[in-house]
Every structure is written in structure tokens, then in C-alpha cells.
């Protein structure tokens, strides 16, 4: 009796299991569920809009709904903007698009899940910073063959630079359409002009000048933390001092540096030769930390450096030019007397432009309408109206163009701040406007960096991490536990021994194997 009672749930479980499995496989069959064709007048509209007079235009007789996944917190007016876009989109390619934003707070968890759970989205943002190459190798993206590209995205195929498209390839196959924009990330110091003038600091041209500024603040401004040093800006200090100013570069952002002037791209091995430059920087940071230039809470602070700066609690932070400009505009409205200034960290050295894959769009391989998705991308990338509307909002409401062709923000732009609703994947140099009312040195800094930009094949490095993922994960932990505190000057004892501990831990975590594996891939890339 007892045995039977035990068996019954098992039988039941089995029966259920079978029924669920069969339900699942049954569900797969209706993949080609068709929506009712809408025989309205929108059919010839593709020709009407003037953007495509193709002799054999793709068939758009069936109305489709596309779903696009973007990253960020969107914008209050995003819906209004996309509603407007959808009206035109319906006429042009007989489709509408529905946008879903993954918030910055948890995008990295949700992003990968979208692929593994088989979500029915059509388009998704991807980028080097979102593990593009790795995901592409795992079959996350639709392969855009040259024929398909030519047929459904003719303008991308013919107008975009070949190197742009090249960047979206992994092992020769096109998995994403990268942005059509030469992006250079310009990192530097954001400081307050009023404090600089007060303490007689003329300009910040180096980390020494920045140190003087922090010193003046800590000695004279009671109740103010000179530099919060949290999140992103402590990364920038290492990035600028150890890479940019030494003309070094990390191919594929794996924490491994090569010398830009070395044609063989040999990875610099910190285990064999301790990096004196890094030790010196960490010593400086330890000194800053001791003297109170850096907040003692830098490792645990839940407020970003930028927010702390905006609220007047701290006197400086590090960021890129675009963020600095946004900060400038915010502060100008609330505290014009602060006179926010931006000084780029790298004023003389070579600059590597970002890979075009720094932002891109890809298509879901499970999408029911990859063709229409591609047509939408073609419009977003190459059509002035689509491109600027998604980037800056509705012209006349959110923004306008000045006489000299610059971007003028209207008061309503708060509802759709430029570039905020994640139009990065289809950014186009032709239509991207620089702000008319920004930092005084905005254009000068841009020009200076562009003049120093160099091309390198390393930019398109799409590493295969399958064989080294254990090492990567273990190294990530070492970085968190040992490198991050060093970068902010939190050391027990002396810097040299802490540095040595970190190197030992990296060695134990398999840094050497990673170097060996990546070096081989780099050699293949460079054809050695």
C-alpha cells in the first residue's frame, strides 16, 4: 500500500511530463503564423517616399509589427516620437515598430536571457561592450548575407563604407550592421572653473595639474570631497594614464594591452615584467587617498561621481566629452557660477578611434520578418528624417538646426534628450549634429583628437573566448578584489607588495594561458 502511494505521483509526473513535451513541440509548428494582409493604399508608398525606386522592390504587401530591443532608460517622449515614426514607417515599408528598453540597472542580466528564452523580438542593439563576437559565435544573431543586404538594405549596401560593414563580421559572416560613425571617446577631467580661478590654477594639462586642483580643494573647501572616484571615472584614470598616454591599447577589451607602435601586436606581459608605470600610478593614488583627495567611500558609494558633482558635494570627476557636455548644460541652468570646464587627458598622443562595432544593430535569428527588420534598419541608418528623429526627437518640438548647421535644443528636449533613447546602433556621421550651446572647447577638442586618430586592424578584433572562459571569469574576480582597490589607492601596507599580490593572483587565475590564446588569435588577425 505504502509503495503504491509513493508510485502514484511518479506516474502522474511522467504523464504530465509527456504532455508538456508534446505541447512544446506542437507549439513550434505555428512559426509561420500569418497576419492578415491589409489591402490598403500603403503598398506603393515605398516608392512614394522617394527613398527607394527599386526596380524589383521587396514585397511589403503584408503588414508586420516589429519589436526592437534597446538599452537604456528611454526618454519620456520616446513613445510620442516612435508613434510619429510609425505613421511614416507604415507608409514606407508597411510596418510598425515597437520599442522595448532594457534599463541600465539590469540590462546585462536581461539581455542574454532574451536570447536563451527565445523572446520574439526582431531587432536588438549589440556592441563590442555587449559581447557581440561571443554571442554571434553562439548563434545569437541572424546572418545577413550580401544578397539579403543588397535586396533589403540597398542604401547600406551601396552607400556605407566597406570598413563599417567589415566591423560587423565574425569569421567572415555579417552578423550586425555597425554604426556609420567614426567615434572617438575623449576622456578627461571635469572641474569647476570658479574653484580653479579662486586657487589660481590656469589649466589642467596633466595629472599633476589635477592633483594641484584636488589639493587646493581639500585644503580650502571644507565639507567638500574633492573627487568621489566611483564607478566609471576610476576606470578612466587607469585607462588614460596607463593606456592612452603610453600609446597602448586593449584589443577586444580583455584587459590585455599591446603597444600601438608594435606592428606585431605583442601582448605586454605584466607577469614577466612588472609594470612600473602602473605601480607609480597606484602609489600616486594611495597618496591621494591618504590625503583625502579621494572619498573614503569610493569603493562602496551608491551615488555616482557625476551626481555628487552636480549636487555640489564634490569638485571633480572624470568622464568623456559627451557626458561632460551634458553636465555643462545641466549645471549652466542651475549653477551658472560654477563655470564647468572640461580638460582632455590626452593632448599629444596617438588616438585609436572606437571600432564601428562600439554600437550596432543585429537581427534575431528567430525573427519572423528579418527582411522587414533589415528594411527598417536601412531607413534608420540612411534616411535623414528617420535618423535624426530617433536621435534628437521631433524637429521643431525637441530640437532645431541653427544657421551654421548645429543642433539647437528647444525647451521640450528634456522629454527627448539627444542620443538618450539609444539610437546609437544606427548613428550616422552625415546626420549627426554637434551642439551649438556646449563647452567652449568642444569643437577644438574634437578636432585635436581627430587629427591624431590612427587606424589599426586591432580595432576589429573579435576574440573567440570559448577556450578561455574559465580564465576570464577567474580574472574578473581578481580584478574586482585586487585591482580596483589599488586603482583607488586603498592599500594595506605598501603599493609594491599589493601589486605583487595582484600579479600572483592573476597568474594563478590563468593570465598566461589567456595571453597565449589571445596572442595566437591576434597573430591570425594580423596575418602573421
Amino acid at each position: 500500500m505504502k509503495k503504491v502511494r509513493k508510485k502514484f505521483p511518479l506516474l502522474l509526473a511522467l504523464a504530465l511530463f509527456v504532455s508538456i513535451i508534446s505541447a512544446c513541440s506542437g507549439g513550434n509548428n505555428d512559426g509561420s503564423e500569418s497576419q492578415p494582409a491589409s489591402p490598403d493604399a500603403s503598398l506603393p508608398a515605398a516608392v512614394q517616399s522617394g527613398e527607394s525606386a527599386k526596380p524589383t522592390g521587396p514585397d511589403t504587401s503584408e503588414e508586420v509589427k516589429l519589436k526592437m530591443v534597446l538599452i537604456g532608460d528611454g526618454a519620456p517622449d520616446a513613445k510620442a516620437v516612435y508613434d510619429e515614426l510609425n505613421k511614416k514607417l507604415k507608409q514606407d515599408i508597411n510596418a510598425t515598430v515597437d520599442v522595448q528598453f532594457l534599463s541600465w540597472a539590469d540590462w546585462s542580466q536581461k539581455y542574454q536571457l532574451l536570447f536563451s528564452t527565445g523572446d520574439d523580438f526582431d531587432l536588438i542593439i549589440t556592441a563590442t561592450w555587449a559581447q557581440f563576437a561571443d554571442n554571434a559565435r553562439k548563434g545569437a544573431f541572424y546572418e545577413i548575407t550580401p544578397d539579403v543586404l543588397q535586396k533589403y538594405a540597398p542604401r547600406t549596401h551601396s552607400d556605407n563604407l566597406p570598413e563599417v560593414l567589415e566591423a560587423g563580421k565574425v569569421e567572415g559572416k555579417q552578423y550586425a550592421l555597425p554604426m556609420n560613425y567614426h567615434e572617438i571617446t575623449i576622456n578627461g577631467y571635469v572641474v569647476r572653473g570658479d574653484l580653479m580661478d579662486k586657487y589660481g590654477i590656469a589649466s589642467i594639462d596633466s595629472i599633476d595639474d589635477f592633483e594641484k586642483y584636488l589639493d587646493a580643494v581639500v585644503k580650502n573647501e571644507k565639507g567638500m570631497v574633492p573627487w568621489e572616484g566611483t564607478n566609471y571615472d576610476n576606470w578612466i584614470i587607469a585607462k588614460t594614464q596607463l593606456e592612452e598616454l603610453r600609446e597602448q591599447y586593449q584589443p577586444g577589451n580583455l584587459g590585455l594591452r599591446v603597444d600601438l607602435n608594435d606592428p606585431g601586436a605583442k601582448i605586454i606581459d605584466d607577469i614577466a615584467n612588472p609594470d612600473q608605470g602602473a605601480i607609480d600610478l597606484y602609489k600616486r593614488m594611495a597618496d591621494w587617498n591618504k590625503k583625502g583627495y579621494i572619498s573614503k567611500n569610493a569603493l562602496v558609494n551608491k551615488v555616482t561621481s557625476k551626481d555628487s558633482f552636480l549636487s555640489g558635494k564634490s569638485a571633480a570627476f572624470l568622464t568623456n566629452l559627451l557626458e561632460a557636455n551634458a553636465t555643462y548644460q545641466t549645471v549652466k541652468a542651475n549653477h551658472p557660477e560654477w563655470d564647468v570646464r572640461f580638460y582632455p587627458a590626452n593632448t599629444t598622443k596617438k588616438v585609436v578611434a572606437n571600432s564601428f562595432m562600439a554600437n550596432a544593430m543585429a537581427i534575431n535569428p528567430k525573427s519572423k520578418n528579418p527582411e522587414r527588420a533589415l528594411m527598417l534598419l536601412d531607413l534608420l541608418r540612411n534616411d535623414e528624417w528617420y535618423n535624426q528623429t530617433t536621435t534628437f526627437g521631433l524637429k521643431g518640438k525637441h530640437w532645431d538646426v541653427s544657421a551654421d548647421g548645429k543642433l539647437v535644443l528647444l525647451p521640450a528636449s528634456q522629454g527627448y534628450p539627444p542620443d538618450a533613447a539609444c539610437p546609437w546602433g544606427w548613428r550616422n556621421e552625415k546626420y549627426y549634429l554637434s551642439p551649438s550651446d556646449g563647452l567652449s572647447n568642444y569643437d577644438a577638442v574634437q578636432t585635436s583628437y581627430r587629427g591624431r586618430a590612427i587606424n589599426t586592424k586591432l580595432n576589429n578584433f573579435a576574440p573567440n573566448l570559448e577556450n578561455t572562459k574559465s580564465q576570464q571569469a577567474a580574472l574578473k574576480d581578481v580584478e574586482n578584489q585586487y585591482e580596483l582597490p589599488l586603482r583607488l589607492g586603498f592599500v594595506k601596507g605598501d603599493v609594491e607588495s599589493s601589486y605583487k599580490t595582484m600579479i600572483d593572483k592573476k597568474k594563478a587565475a590563468g593570465q598566461e594561458k589567456l595571453i597565449e590564446d589571445i596572442q595566437q588569435q591576434l597573430n591570425t588577425l594580423l596575418g602573421q
Binding site: 553562439k138 569603493l299 576570464q472
Partner: protein, 307 residues
């Protein structure tokens, strides 16, 4: 062994009982047994296009990262030590609270104690994390403010591993004490009052009554709850550790548990196979320890064992 007819007889006889157990069986089947198949992921190199079962095998490579940095032992022992501390301190405090609340004279005193102790249970760890930060941070923390006021220098809590074992144990108890003591309280309340009355007439003091009546009658419940919590001894309370410690590398040696380590290592690669491997490692250890402890309990006192 069993004929078909006995199965049917069983069914017709206990139809109602079977129906009663059905929801629970369904629940555990759907959410606990069905996902077991996903365990296979720990040995796979997951591909989006081939799915769970179609992906290529990876052997034991998914487990490597865990042992690579030499931290496997440290974080496993941290996890166990913290959980033992939580279980032991929690047990003592919860019993104490339950007994005091049960014996406390006035109705209002009782209600007041229960409500105040229960309240923290409803706060999320995110909230607790931010007020821990406001208590202990170096520049503006209230504790450092107080220390400064009394002329003692500030203490750099977030840069020093010495304090966190106590802080974590404290907050864990603070949060769960009210809720978990409810079960003990229910047991005490259900004890036959005449036993106490008889003891009182015989001249037993309150402590004697607690020692000889309350505690012995509570032992079966204590054992069950103890065994249940031992079953989770290899799982760190992620929320507790992550929200209070965060990404502060200075404290990791003293505060890192399996769950936080796995989270930090894999948050960038989001490798499903490796996360599954870590989960399997924990589950296997938990399974082993619960079988073992149940076996020991059964040897000593069969009535107290779980199964």
C-alpha cells in the same frame, strides 16, 4: 509485486486525499523536478541556436573557473561558517524571543514586542544595505559621527575586515528573528497549560518550568527546523551579502560567499553553463550534507529525523 487492482483500490479508497496532495505534487513537479533536466547545462557549452539539449558537450570545463583562482575553498568555507553562525545564533535568539514573548505578562507588551521584532522582516535587503552604508560609512556615517562627537577618531569600517562578521550576523538576526520565532511561539502556545499549572503548584520556578517543560517539548520542532536549515548550508544569502558588502574588494576575503563570487565572475560573460555548474556544485554539497545529517539524527533518535 503489486497488482494493478491494488493500485485502483488505493485510488478509489483515498480519492480525496490524492486530490488534496495534487496541487503540491504539481507544484514540485513543475518547479523542482522538471528543471532538474536543466542540470545537463553544467556540462554543456551553451549555444542559443541549438538550445539546451542540442548544445555541444563541454566536459568539466564549466567547473574550472570555480577552482581556478584557488578561491573555491575560501568561499565554500566562508559560506558554511556564516551559515553555521546564522543558524546557531538565530536558534538561540529566536527561542529566547519566543519564550519571553510567551511568558511576558501584559497583552500589550506581547503585541509591542512581536510587532517591533517582526517589522525588519518586511524590509528588502536593498533598503537595509543603504542604511548600513549610512551607519558605517567613513565621511558621513552616523556611527562615525557619534565616535567623532565623543572624541574618538573615525573607524574605517569599509576598509577593514574585522567588523563585518559581526555586522553581518547582527543584521541577519535582526531581520529574521521576529519572523522565525513565530514558529516556536506557536509550539509554546500549543503546550498543554495544565502541565505548567501543575508544575507551579509543585513549586517550580519559571526557569525550572522552561527547562523541564517548554524546552523538551520544543525539541522535535527545533530539530526539524535545524535539519531544514542545514540543507541550505552551502547557499549564501545573496541579497544579504551583496547588498551590504557590494563590490568592495577590500572585504572579500572575509565576506565572499559562493553566490556573490559566482555573480561577480559571471556577470560579464553571462555564461549559462558556468552558472549552472556553480549551482550544481552547491546543490550536490547540500544534498550530501542533508542526507548525512538526517542519517545521524536517525541513528540517535529516529523520531526527530526528517525522512
Amino acid at each position: 509485486m503489486h497488482s494493478k487492482s491494488s493500485l485502483i483500490r488505493e485510488w478509489t479508497k483515498n480519492k480525496v486525499l490524492f486530490l488534496m496532495v495534487l496541487p503540491a505534487v504539481l507544484y514540485y513537479f513543475l518547479f523542482s523536478y522538471l528543471p532538474l533536466a536543466g542540470m545537463v547545462l553544467a556540462f554543456k557549452s551553451y549555444r542559443f541556436d541549438s538550445g539546451i539539449f542540442g548544445s555541444p558537450w563541454a566536459g568539466l570545463r564549466n567547473f574550472e573557473f570555480f577552482f581556478k583562482s584557488g578561491k573555491a575553498w575560501l568561499i565554500t568555507s566562508n559560506t558554511v561558517v556564516y551559515n553555521v553562525a546564522f543558524i546557531v545564533s538565530g536558534l538561540i535568539l529566536q527561542l529566547l524571543v519566543a519564550i519571553v514573548v510567551a511568558e511576558a505578562a501584559g497583552r500589550y507588551v506581547k503585541k509591542f514586542m512581536q510587532t517591533t521584532l517582526l517589522f525588519p522582516f518586511f524590509l528588502s535587503w536593498v533598503v537595509v544595505g543603504s542604511f548600513v552604508y549610512n551607519l558605517f560609512n567613513y565621511d558621513f556615517g552616523s556611527i562615525n559621527g557619534m565616535l567623532k562627537y565623543f572624541g574618538i577618531g573615525s573607524v574605517d569600517f569599509y576598509g577593514n575586515t574585522d567588523y563585518w562578521e559581526y555586522i553581518l550576523v547582527f543584521f541577519n538576526n535582526w531581520k529574521y528573528i521576529g519572523y522565525n520565532s513565530l514558529i516556536y511561539l506557536a509550539v509554546i502556545v500549543s503546550i498543554d497549560r495544565s502541565l505548567f499549572e501543575a508544575a507551579e503548584i509543585d513549586g517550580a520556578s519559571i526557569f525550572q518550568r522552561i527547562r523541564t517543560i517548554t524546552l523538551p517539548l520544543m525539541i522535535p520542532t527545533i530539530m526539524i527546523l535545524l535539519l531544514l536549515s542545514i540543507g541550505n548550508i552551502f547557499r549564501g544569502n545573496f541579497d544579504l551579502f551583496y547588498q551590504i558588502i557590494g563590490n568592495n574588494g577590500l572585504l572579500f576575503d572575509a565576506t565572499d560567499v559562493i553566490d556573490t563570487y559566482v555573480f561577480r565572475s559571471l556577470i560579464h560573460s553571462q555564461d549559462i553553463g558556468m552558472s549552472a555548474a556553480a549551482g550544481l556544485y552547491q546543490s550536490a554539497l547540500c544534498f550530501a550534507i542533508i542526507m548525512l545529517s538526517n542519517f545521524i539524527v536517525k541513528k540517535i533518535q529516529p523520531d526527530y529525523s526528517l525522512f
